[in-house]
Symmetry: D2
Subunit: 142 residues, 4 copies
């Protein structure tokens, strides 16, 4: 899919690094999560905290996350990050994050999320609902 690619630059903070002087793995998953919210804001034109209300969903919960750490990223490193939806399915979608330092790919991450709503029959239950085509179209056009 020719999907919109969201670009962001970030500088690694002291508090994100571990005793080896490199970013602690869990911090990358915070960075991925924030990247996804920002991308949705840019593409859909809706503030992250208004996303659920704007589209009648409870949110876009994460069902799968993964990362491949190719090169260590250190305190003070300037990271170029790209995020894009690599695939839309009926009610779920995949996001791909890439973090590079000095032009070299250092970390690749992936998230699978669900376009989720409460069940009408049982509000305790949360499940995926069909992603509206106009949402998908916005990512293609963006």
């Amino acid at each position: 899919m020719a999907s919109f690619t969201y670009r962001r630059q970030l500088t690694i903070e002291w508090g994100q690094c571990d005793p080896a002087g490199i970013v602690f793995n869990s911090r990358f998953f915070e960075i991925f999560d924030a990247g996804t919210w920002h991308m949705f804001e840019v593409v859909l034109g809706v503030k992250p905290h208004e996303l659920a209300g704007a589209f009648g969903i409870i949110g876009i919960p994460l069902v799968d996350a993964r990362a491949n750490f190719m090169k260590p990223i250190k305190f003070g490193d300037v990271v170029e990050m790209t995020s894009r939806v690599s695939e839309f399915r009926r009610s779920s979608f995949d996001i791909e994050h890439r973090l590079s330092v000095g032009g070299e790919l250092a970390v690749e991450g992936g998230e699978t999320r669900v376009w989720a709503s409460r069940s009408k029959d049982d509000p305790e239950k949360i499940g995926g609902i069909a992603i509206p085509p106009e949402i998908i179209a916005k990512f293609e056009r963006a």
Copy 2:
């Protein structure tokens, strides 16, 4: 006040430490917060996530936090922690946390929290209400 002292032992994890190999400051505030919830559970006999419901409050929000770092605490260090309510006022109270390693005091922390409820007139407003004397008595007797 002769208040109950809650004791806990914890071992410092890799992910809690920074490039200097010592616990990153924000992690102590996570540790203090958890210590307060655990102490309340032990003294009041109510699970943390049931505290609000059990006492008709919305929670015990933090209004002030502070820490004094006397000695660095490192990855793998075994920490002895004590937590106690050092003062109850009408609707707020102070908690004191002390972390020692090898018998030496390393970090001293303090929290001020409010026994908080929604205003009956304006549910958007949250404010302190009088702490029930039986709550205070439990901390003295514990």
Copy 3:
């Protein structure tokens, strides 16, 4: 492989949860990391911060991490966690973490780590070296 299974119980803290009231995804990767260190301590009889020195390595850096979130885990939930090495290869190995609440599997995680050392020719370079058979044997016997 009939590998040792490390068991641990943990209770979810307030500070590990997000506005949906469930554990924020990055926190699971902290939990996995700590689980791996603890398992190594139990099996090898070496404190985490002494692991590198004891075996002449620089550590066991993570090259891949992944998680599958099947059921949300909430504030106050008591989690039963198991961790085991699911495969040893020449210089890398896979760890499998499973978190259950009330007997139901909620999160499955995986890590791939390297038994890593500095290159003798270029100390700036870090790479995998062969995992000693006695290390692998300890995980099988444990």
Copy 4:
């Protein structure tokens, strides 16, 4: 002291918030820490990870941190933050952080840090050394 005031804008991420939907207290101490590093970079013209090397110190370790939470800050809130050195002493200094949302002061934080070096007699010992007057002058002129 007419000290330089460093200004920064940040937007609160989902992962920084707790089940009450507001920033979890420890996150503010991460924000303060990053604010201090950024301010030093701007004033001294030295990248955070080069600070120690550039001035012959081991760093600017934190000895005291504190925060006063006046108004909750929520997911999606745009925060205006100011940081300044409020006092320089011989070998330690105080930093004051202020976070406002919509023009209203929401959180006030303070840090006390030491201009620290290893002892010449005992490299295991770390202690404060006199802050060079040219460093202080840069904060006044900035």
